[in-house]
Amino acid sequence: MRLHRWRSNDYIRFFLILLLLFFVLFPFFYMVSTALKTEPDQFRSPPVLFPQTPTAANFRQALEPKFIRYCINSFIVTISTTLIVISVSIFSSYAFSRLRFRGRKFLLKIIILTQLFPLIIIIIPIYMIFTKVGLVNTYLSLIIAYLAFTVPVGVWILRGFFKGIPYNLEESAMVDGATPLQAFLLIVLPLARQGISATAVYIFIFTWQEFMFALTFLSGEKMRTLHVGILDFIRQYGVNWGGLMAASTLITIPVFVLFLILQRQFISGLTQGSIKG
């Protein structure tokens, strides 16, 4: 009796999971399918599900030198931002997790607040200032703008990881005569390696994804980042769907593989900030 009831439940569950997968994955299937379509196939109406004669031509378009250039731009900005964020926020998050000082909670609240307010409000003044000092269209302009919201995120997530390291380790080091700085550098930092890499992964993906600032600050032909650059496939006479979907496929695959490999770090970085302490 009981066995039977579970079975029918399992069927429903199985069906619902299939439905969910279809909802999530169908657009991706169509992305890859369009990427493999020849031009006549792309413009067939009603559209066809599968490419009639698969072609790699779209992928060749997506690998043109200018897109490689966009990709390099993205890497330059993302890696620099991540490195700066980590080196600044390591110290601050340590202070927030360990040291007692006046105004700690207040400053912490400000750190959180800066992660939540609308970015649209700072993009206008920063843009006007950068235009005046001639920074627009340099990597530096985008990196500086990114620091505004990635440093607070980094501090907040890292703080959670530092809090997970038992305090008595440093305490005994300090009893043995180490200064707080020494205790931090020699005891805590090596133990926090995993947390630091989780935070770095999170900041990297966060920055890599960003669109609005990249669109505004790096508009020059040679300076565009990848996600702004793929808009080149939108042309005056219409969208080059095959090329665009091929580029999208090429962008999605490494992101997905990276995510599968770093899933644990990424999710711990994510939940660290919002669920755990």
């Binding site: 169509y30 000082f101 400000i110 609308p118 649209i120 700072i122 609005m212 999208s248 939940t271 755990k276």
Partner: protein, 296 residues
């Protein structure tokens, strides 16, 4: 000894915290103050010298029809998106909570929409929504649900819901991740005890599971509300606020007023109003963190 220690703490803290605080002041607080000052001026391309207006811009904005339209769209967009992200997120967390072969792979696949860039998601759905080339019309036509091909994104009544659907698709995996993590933490002994006391599945759900995960639900709802309210890419890519102004929400409208029309004063006024609205959500979120002692 104690006094000595906290004095040492304070000095170290000062040096450690300073770089972050300087960054925050220069890159966040200064721009907000500057945006407020700009919002007091009238400026445009043909006005070489901005004209001081006092709070005039605010009066103008509150009296304009477009402001109330954008406010209404932002409101509908945020509420509908977070509601369905919550339902779908919690639903998929329950579906994938119990172990079965292939669960990890499915869990990884479900995250996909969330980890792809918004630009790609937007363009992908532009293709699916395309009246002639899109799969959506073909499916619905073949199933006899629609009698003629629909122009999803060019119809003033449909466009907002079309972009809302994409935002739900793109963002629900985050809620699913949060609820999966929360369900892992539900106390199994309490569930067993409830079963012994005769609770059915709904009883278990309502009396045991919901109370335990409700803090995570509150935090997730607030966080997704804030993100959705601020979300720029999907609408910018898919409709850029159109047709007419039918899909403009605050971020896209402000972006257009500033970087297409170059009316930075007016744009700053809108930005400051947005900031005040969001401050309410943000303070609620902060109170939630404080209650859970996450700030100590």
């Amino acid at each position: 000894m104690q006094g000595n220690r906290s004095k040492g703490d304070a000095t170290t803290a000062l040096f450690f915290v300073m770089p972050t605080m300087i960054l925050v002041c220069v890159l966040v607080f200064f721009p907000i103050v500057k945006a407020f000052i700009d919002s007091l001026y009238k400026s445009s391309l043909i006005l070489p010298q901005p004209v001081f207006m006092g709070l005039g811009n605010y009066g103008k904005v509150l009296k304009s029809e477009i402001f109330w339209q954008v406010l209404w769209h932002s409101f509908v967009w945020t509420l509908v998106v977070i509601f369905f992200q919550f339902l779908l997120g919690l639903g998929s967390a329950f579906l994938l909570n119990r172990d079965f072969p292939g669960r990890n792979i499915i869990r990884g696949l479900i995250i996909l929409p969330w980890i792809i860039p918004g630009v790609i998601a937007g363009m992908l759905w532009n293709l699916l929504y395309d009246p002639q080339l899109g799969m959506l019309n073909r499916f619905l036509y073949d199933l006899n649900i629609i009698q003629r091909y629909v122009t999803w994104l060019a119809d003033e009544k449909l466009a907002l819901f079309a972009v809302i659907f994409v935002a739900i698709w793109k963002g629900f995996p985050f809620s699913a991740l949060m609820y999966m993590a929360a369900l892992q933490g539900v106390n199994q002994e309490l569930l067993d005890a409830a079963t012994i006391d005769g609770a059915g599945r709904w009883g278990q759900f309502y009396y045991v599971i919901v109370p335990q995960i409700s803090p995570v639900i509150r935090i997730t709802l607030l966080l997704t509300a804030i993100w959705t309210f601020n979300y720029f890419e999907i609408i910018y890519i898919m409709t850029n606020g159109g047709p007419g102004n039918a899909t403009h929400i605050f971020p896209t409208y402000i972006y257009n007023v500033s970087f297409r029309q170059f009316r930075f004063g007016l744009a700053s006024t809108y930005a400051i109003i947005t900031f005040v609205i969001l401050l309410v959500f943000s303070l609620m979120y902060m109170r939630e963190l404080d209650k859970r002692e996450l700030l100590d």
